[in-house]
């Protein structure tokens, strides 16, 4: 395993993910399936339960964006559908290896989740590499926690949620 | 007795005087005068005879002769008065003169107890015959008073009033004179009585004749009396009517006079109106002239406004162009700004590099500092230019705004001027109408004036006619009054 603090070469195909106009990168091995959001309807997960759908922009506290594509992320327990604006395969220049810069230490210190694993500089622009698997797991955890809280104190929490919305 | 008889005579003669007075009385008086004068003449002749024969002292004779002369002269004066019809005066003078003649003669000849005293009966008789009762009383009182006074004076102062002793011849003479005088008077009186009787007879005849005439007249009058009363009533009616007509005519005259005055006033008023209308017309004409000037001025100002508007638009366009130009300059300055910024940054970075290079970078840092200063100066200059351009743009913006405002104002001004022109047109029209109306009023009032003058003339004629009518009516009323009086008299005569 390579250190997150050292620049390293990313192997394999890289997915380019649009959240509105901003581009993020992700390792395609994290993604089980890629499909349009419209196809998610009536699609059950492995346990026959309805698919957990989470807006990636919401998770990243990004500004709201339109969602057309869904990235199906398989975790140990279940599959999560992360909704994004669009996804494609990043066509990396063949002669240049995709060097992943580590996240600056201040940012590492500041971030609560280890969702961004590094930065790839393309055409002078920094592109952040997302750890989709980690994001999916954390999202499931948050959802479960939310459900538990909802069950424990149904009335007050629902009020709280409504007010938050 | 004489006095009483004289009074009755006097009353009779006075009665006669209403019809055939004057002649008989004058004739009688002349007769008396002639007798007196004749008596006096006889007395003078007698005295001359006595004086010559020595029967009488010459002084006495001369005194009596003077008395006789006075009586002759007074007879002449009385005659003259009688000729003038002043019988009463003549009688009084005659009486008084004779009384004094008698008394003077009496003193000269025999004093208070002289037989000449009897002579005073002569004038008294004459006066009693011819004068009124009052005169008779006055002259009588004078005779008695004078006689008593002389008698008392002679007894008290016998020395101062010497009395000539009366000779017997004188006494005879006096008696003779008195006798002659009384005889004459008696003669006269009887002749007067006779003539009076004849006159009375004649008067009685006449009265009888008148009576018979009156009888006949009375019969006629009896017939006329009804007619007379009718005439009287008709005359009274006529008089009343005439009076009414007269007063009506007078009223008509005064009414006409009032109407005339009113119409004259109307004429004056019309004249004033005509003058006023003339003034109005003149004023309107002047207004027209002024207005034509004003219209020209308005037209000129409209044209001027149009020129100003075009000029304003031109200015607006030019100022807008200027604004765009300064915008372009601003863009260029932005570029300069950018370049200076970059240069400054470059110089700064170079200086940082040089500072990092230590001794090796020292020379480079000098160049970097120079470049940086240059960039700073450029920045400063660019900033100043930008400020100026900002000011210019503000000014041009303000100018554009002002030009737009000015344009609007000019539009407004043009509109106002156009409206002023329209108003002027309206005023012109109205002034023309006013002038026309003034002329029409002038004409109308002139016509009115001449009409009222004609009316006044007609009224004058009417007034004249009314005046004549009134005069005629008055005359008619007078005639009617006379007629009425005549009718009344006729009525009275017929009845009486």
């Amino acid at each position: 395993m390579m250190s997150a603090t050292e620049p390293h070469i990313l192997a394999g195909n890289i997915l380019r993910i649009w959240l509105g106009p901003q581009i993020f990168l992700a390792n395609h091995t994290h993604v089980a399936q890629l499909l349009p959001v419209a196809h998610l309807r009536d699609m059950p997960d492995e346990r026959g339960q309805p698919m957990q759908q989470i807006g990636l922009a919401d998770l990243l506290q990004h500004a709201p964006v339109p969602t057309h594509h869904a990235l199906l992320i398989a975790t140990r327990r279940r599959t999560v559908a992360l909704l994004v604006t669009a996804v494609d395969l990043w066509a990396q220049p063949s002669d240049v290896a995709p060097v992943i810069q580590p996240l600056p230490p201040v940012l590492r210190h500041a971030l609560t989740h280890a969702w961004i694993t590094g930065i790839l500089i393309a055409d002078g622009q920094p592109l952040q590499l997302l750890n989709l698997r980690q994001i999916a797991q954390d999202a499931l955890k948050q959802a479960a926690q939310g459900e538990r809280e909802q069950r424990g104190q149904p009335i007050n929490r629902s009020d709280d949620l409504v007010s938050r919305n | 007795m004489d006095v009483l008889r004289g009074e009755s005579r006097n009353a009779y003669t006075e009665n006669l005087s209403a019809s055939e007075t004057g002649y008989d009385r004058t004739t009688l008086f002349n007769l008396i005068l002639a007798t007196t004068a004749g008596g006096a003449g006889v007395a003078i002749l007698s005295l001359l005879l006595l004086m010559i024969t020595g029967l009488i002292a010459p002084s006495t004779a001369i005194g009596i002769m003077a008395s006789a002369t006075v009586s002759i002269i007074s007879s002449g004066i009385c005659y003259a008065l009688g000729r003038q019809g002043r019988i009463e005066w003549a009688v009084q003078l005659y009486g008084i003169a004779l009384v004094f003649v008698v008394f003077s003669a009496m003193f000269l000849y025999g004093g208070a107890l002289s037989p000449l005293v009897v002579a005073s009966a002569i004038p008294l008789t004459v006066v009693g015959l011819l004068a009124t009762r009052r005169t008779v009383w006055v002259i009588g009182s004078i005779i008695v008073g004078t006689y008593l006074a002389l008698a008392i004076l002679q007894n008290v102062y016998p020395a101062q009033i010497p009395v000539q002793p009366l000779s017997s011849g004188a006494e005879w003479f006096t008696l003779m004179v008195v006798a002659i005088s009384v005889g004459i008077i008696g003669l006269v009186t009887s002749s007067v009585q006779a003539s009076l009787h004849a006159a009375l007879q004649e008067s009685q005849d006449r009265a009888e004749k008148i009576f018979t005439d009156t009888e006949r007249l009375l019969e006629k009058s009896m017939q006329q009396i009804e007619l007379g009363s009718e005439l009287s009533a008709a005359a009274a009616e006529l008089q009343a009517t005439s009076q009414q007509q007269a007063s009506g005519s007078t009223e008509q005259a005064s009414a006409v006079s009032q109407v005339t005055t009113t119409v004259e006033e109307l004429g004056t008023t019309a004249r004033q109106i005509a003058q006023s209308a003339d003034h109005v017309a003149q004023a309107a004409q002047q207004t027209l002239e002024y207005l034509s000037d004003g219209q020209q001025a308005v037209d000129e100002s409209i044209q001027a406004m149009e020129r100003i508007r075009v000029r304003m638009q031109d200015i607006s366009v030019r100022v807008l162009g200027l604004g765009e130009r300064s915008q372009q300059i601003g863009e260029i300055i932005d570029l300069i700004d950018d370049i200076s910024d970059e240069t400054h940054l470059l110089a700064l970075n170079a200086a940082i590099e040089a500072a990092g290079a230590g001794e090796h970078g020292r020379r480079f840092s000098v160049v970097a500092a120079e470049v940086k200063n240059l960039a700073n100066r450029t920045l400063q200059a660019a900033k100043e230019v930008k400020d100026v351009i900002a000011e210019i743009r503000q000014a041009t913006n303000a100018a554009v705004l002002a030009a737009e405002e000015g344009g609007k104002e000019v539009e407004k001004g043009s509109e106002l001027t156009y409206r002023a022109g329209q108003v002027m047109d309206t005023i012109l029209m109205m002034a023309e109408r006013t002038a026309q109306s003034g002329a029409e009023i002038g004409m109308a009032t002139a016509q009115q004036q001449s009409a009222s003058e004609q009316v006044v003339e007609a009224m004058r004629e009417i007034a004249e006619v009314a005046r004549q009518t009134a005069a005629g009516a008055r005359q008619m009323a007078d005639s009617a009054a006379m007629l009425s009086a005549i009718a009344d008299r006729l009525h009275g005569v017929a009845q009486g």
Binding site: I116, I121 | K372
Partner: protein, 147 residues
């Protein structure tokens, strides 16, 4: 022209003047939009790449206890190197590279808020300006304390 130890970069944050030792300053660049990193505080608006190096943008206004403002024409990034840290300090404007006589430095005014006072080494009068001297390690320490 001047010794390395004496060279300072003079810049302005809000209406105050600050100075950084020129040795810790790598470059000055104009402001450009940083790429935001999800899940970071507002004091760290994003990252920049300058000459192949990733810089973490720090909003010095927020770090120094001022209210943040929208970038302007004069807004600059001061690319700051300290150890392995690469920071792009967002400042209102960079004024000049100046030489400061540190013997003239005065004590930090007691009225200065702690948010600023903690970063400073002292204050120095330069011409008619009062310049606060920033101590780079203290700056980093303050940053880590905040984020």
């Amino acid at each position: 022209m001047f010794d390395q130890a004496e060279a300072y970069l003079l810049f302005r944050v809000a209406d105050e003047q600050y100075a950084l030792p020129s040795g810790s300053v790598h470059e000055i660049v104009r402001w450009r939009a940083a790429v935001p990193v999800p899940g970071t505080p507002t004091m760290l608006p994003g990252i920049l790449v300058q000459r192949g190096v990733v810089y973490t943008v720090v909003d010095t206004r927020l770090l120094f206890g001022f209210a943040t403002t929208a970038p302007e024409r004069a807004t600059r990034y001061v690319l700051f190197h300290e150890d392995e840290h690469r920071l792009a300090l967002l400042v209102d404007t960079v004024l000049d590279l100046i030489a400061l006589d540190l013997t003239l430095s005065e004590a930090i005014p007691a009225t200065l808020p702690v948010a600023r006072a903690r970063l400073l080494r002292g204050v120095v009068r330069h011409t008619d300006l009062l310049v606060a001297l920033i101590e780079p390690p203290e700056l980093l320490a303050a940053l880590y304390a905040e984020v």
